[in-house]
C-alpha cells in the first residue's frame, strides 16, 4: 500500500535555544494507526502539533493529503498562508487533546455539532442525528444535553473523540489523550480508540500507553531528543527493542 495521508520530511523545530525536533521523517498510510512513544520532552507532541500547524515549524515539510497546512503554493513558490486559508486546510483533521478542551459553554451535543454546522455546512437536523449516533458509538447515549463540566474525565474525552469524528476526518491526531485521566478511566478511552483503529481511521497517537500500542498500532515510532531513534511494528519495537534508549524507556513499563 502506498497512499500516504501524512508525509513529513526533515521536520525541524526550536523553541529559542531548545532544539525540539531535529529532522523528523514521517509517513502515515491511509487507514494506518501510528503510535509515537517517547519520554517527556522528546518532541512527540510538538511533532503532532506541527502536522496541523498549531505549531509553526522551522524547517522541512509536512503535507496532509498533499497539502502543506499553513502554507500555499503560487507559481511554484511556497508562501505562508493567511490564517483563514490555514483554518480551511485544517478542517479535515480531527484532534483530541490531553485536557479534552471541550467548549465549556456548550452542551455535549452542541460541542459535537458545532464544527459540522458552522464549518462544514451540514444541515442542523442531519448534524444532530449524526451527533447522537456518534454519542451512541462512544457509549454516551443520552448525555447530549449535559455540560462537559458535569461529566467525568473519561466521559469528556469520549465526547472529544465524538467531536473529532463528527467532521468525518481524513486524519485523527491524539495528543496524550489519557494522560490527564484518573487510572480507572483510562480503559474506557483506550477502548473507544481501539474501535476507531479497527474501523479503519487514519490515526497518529502520542501516548504513554504501551498496551494500546501493542493492541492497536500498525506501526510504532520511538522518539528521543527530537529524533526518531527506532521504528517498526508493535511486536518488533516493544518486544524486541534494538536501540538502548528504547530499551531503557520500555524497561520502566515492565
Amino acid at each position: 500500500m502506498s497512499d500516504p495521508v501524512v508525509l513529513g520530511r526533515g521536520v525541524e523545530k526550536s523553541f529559542g535555544d531548545n532544539h525540539v525536533l531535529r529532522g523528523i521523517d514521517l509517513t502515515v498510510e491511509r487507514g494506518e494507526v501510528v503510535v509515537i512513544l517517547g519520554p517527556s520532552g522528546s518532541g512527540k507532541s510538538t511533532l503532532l502539533r506541527c502536522i496541523n500547524h498549531l505549531e509553526d515549524m522551522d524547517g522541512g515539510s509536512i503535507s496532509v493529503n498533499g497539502v502543506q497546512v499553513g502554507y500555499e503554493t503560487r507559481n511554484g513558490s511556497l508562501y505562508h498562508a493567511s490564517s483563514r486559508v490555514t483554518a480551511i486546510q485544517r478542517r479535515t483533521i480531527g484532534m483530541v487533546f490531553q485536557q479534552f478542551n471541550l467548549y465549556q459553554h456548550m452542551t455535549v451535543l452542541e460541542n459535537i455539532i458545532e464544527a459540522p454546522i458552522t464549518l462544514h455546512g451540514v444541515p442542523k437536523s442531519q448534524a444532530i442525528a449524526r451527533g447522537e449516533a456518534l454519542l451512541r458509538q462512544v457509549g454516551l447515549e443520552g448525555r447530549g444535553v449535559h455540560y462537559p463540566s458535569n461529566l467525568s474525565g473519561g466521559q469528556q474525552q469520549r465526547v472529544a473523540i465524538a467531536r473529532a469524528l463528527a467532521i468525518e476526518p481524513e486524519l485523527l491526531l491524539f495528543d496524550e489523550p489519557t494522560s490527564a485521566l484518573d487510572p480507572e478511566l483510562v480503559g474506557e478511552v483506550l477502548g473507544t480508540m481501539r474501535k476507531l483503529a479497527d474501523a479503519g481511521y487514519t490515526m497518529i497517537v502520542v501516548t504513554h500507553e504501551i498496551s494500546f500500542a501493542r493492541q492497536a498500532a500498525d506501526r510504532v515510532m520511538f522518539m528521543s531528543e527530537g529524533k526518531v531513534v527506532e521504528e517498526g511494528s508493535a511486536a518488533e519495537l516493544i518486544d524486541r527493542p534494538q536501540h538502548p534508549r528504547t530499551k531503557a524507556f520500555l524497561q520502566r513499563f515492565l
Binding site: N52, L54, R84, R90, R91, M95, F97, Q104, E114, A115
Partner: protein, 321 residues
C-alpha cells in the same frame, strides 16, 4: 469531673453556646435603624408631600428619561469601542496594541468631568471641523464645531469615550480568563479568528465580563449626573432647576436619590439574570438568579407557614436563646 469513657458522648447532645457578640451586634443595628427611621419620619425638612408631588412630575420624568437613554447610548458605544480596543491591545501588532494602550492611559487617567467640559468647549480648540483629505487637501464636508457640539453630543462623547477605556480593560481581562485550550481546539477544527472569538472565546469570557460591566453600567447611570455642568437636562439638572426656583432643595434632591436607586436596583436584578445565563456549563444548581430566588423562596415559605405549622427544631438548640 465528668469522665465520658473511651467512646465519648454523641456530639448531637452537645449544648449550643450563647453567642453574646451576635446579640450585641443585632441590638446595635436595631438601635441605629430606629434612630434613622425616626429621623426620616419626624424631620419636617424632608417635606415628604413635596417629594411625592415632584416624584411624579412630568418634568422630572423627562429628566429621568434623558438620564436613562444617555446612560444606555453611552454604554453601548463604550462597550463596542471597548471590545475593539481590547482586541487591538491584545494584538501581536505592536503599533496597534501600543495605540490602544495610549488611548486607555489617556482616558482612564483623566476625570470624566474634565473630559466632558473639554468636549463641550471643543470649538475653542478647533473652530471648524472638516472631513476630507488631510494636510491641506480638498474638503468634502465642513461645519462649525459649535453647531456640532451641543450639550447632547458633548455628553455622549465624554461619557462613551471614557467608558470605552474602562470596558477595554474589562473585556481584555475576560478574554484572558478563558483557558487557552479552548482557542486551540477551535483553531484545530478550522475556525477562523472571528469564529473562534465570537463562538468560543467571547461567550466564555462573558462570565468574567458581565459582573464588572454591570458595575460600570451602574456607575454610568450615576456619572450622567455630571452632564448637568454642561447644561444637559438630565434628572439632576432638572431637579436643580426646580429648587433654584422653589428653594425646596432637600425634597427635590431626595426625588433624584429615589429615582437613581430605582434604576440601579432594576439594573442589579437584570444583571443577575444575565450572569445566570452565562454561568451555564459551570452551574450545578439551575434556577432563578440570587435576589429573585430569595424573594420567591421567601414568598413560598410565607405561604407554607400560613397553612402548616413549622417543623419542630430537632437540633436541640433550645439553649440558643
Amino acid at each position: 469531673m465528668n469522665t465520658p469513657g473511651l467512646l465519648g458522648i454523641d456530639v448531637n447532645d452537645a449544648k449550643r453556646r450563647t453567642q453574646w457578640g451576635q446579640w450585641a451586634a443585632r441590638l446595635v443595628v436595631i438601635f441605629i435603624g430606629i434612630v434613622i427611621a425616626n429621623f426620616l419620619v419626624t424631620n419636617p425638612n424632608f417635606e415628604w408631600d413635596v417629594v411625592w408631588d415632584w416624584f411624579r412630575a412630568p418634568s422630572v420624568a423627562r429628566g429621568l428619561w434623558t438620564t436613562v437613554w444617555l446612560a444606555a447610548v453611552s454604554m453601548v458605544i463604550g462597550v463596542v469601542l471597548g471590545v475593539l480596543l481590547a482586541v487591538a491591545k491584545m494584538s501581536t501588532n505592536k503599533l496597534l496594541s501600543g495605540a490602544a494602550g495610549i488611548y486607555i492611559w489617556l482616558f482612564r487617567g483623566t476625570p470624566v468631568l474634565v473630559q466632558l467640559i473639554l468636549w463641550f468647549n471643543l470649538a475653542a480648540l478647533l473652530p471648524v471641523l472638516s472631513f476630507g483629505v488631510p494636510f491641506g487637501g480638498p474638503k468634502l464636508i465642513e461645519m462649525s464645531t459649535n453647531s456640532l457640539i451641543t450639550p447632547l453630543s458633548a455628553a455622549i462623547l465624554g461619557l462613551a469615550l471614557n467608558e470605552a477605556a474602562y470596558m477595554a480593560e474589562i473585556v481584555r481581562g475576560g478574554l484572558l480568563s478563558v483557558d487557552p485550550g479552548q482557542r486551540e481546539a477551535a483553531n484545530a477544527f478550522g475556525m477562523t479568528y472571528g469564529q473562534t472569538l465570537s463562538r468560543v472565546v467571547l461567550p466564555q469570557a462573558m462570565r468574567a465580563i458581565i459582573p464588572p460591566t454591570g458595575n460600570q453600567l451602574i456607575s454610568m447611570v450615576k456619572a450622567t449626573s455630571q452632564v448637568s455642568v454642561i447644561a444637559m437636562s438630565d434628572i439632576l439638572y432638572t431637579v436643580q432647576s426646580v429648587y433654584n426656583r422653589t428653594f425646596e432643595t432637600i425634597p427635590l434632591l431626595i426625588v433624584a436619590v429615589i429615582w437613581y436607586l430605582i434604576i440601579t436596583s432594576i439594573l442589579n436584578v437584570i444583571q443577575e439574570f444575565i450572569e445566570d445565563y452565562y454561568a451555564r456549563g459551570q452551574r450545578v444548581e439551575s434556577g432563578l438568579p440570587g435576589t429573585v430566588r430569595k424573594i420567591v423562596r421567601w414568598a413560598r415559605k410565607n405561604r407554607q407557614t400560613k397553612t402548616s405549622k413549622p417543623v419542630a427544631n430537632t437540633k436541640g438548640a433550645s439553649t440558643d436563646v
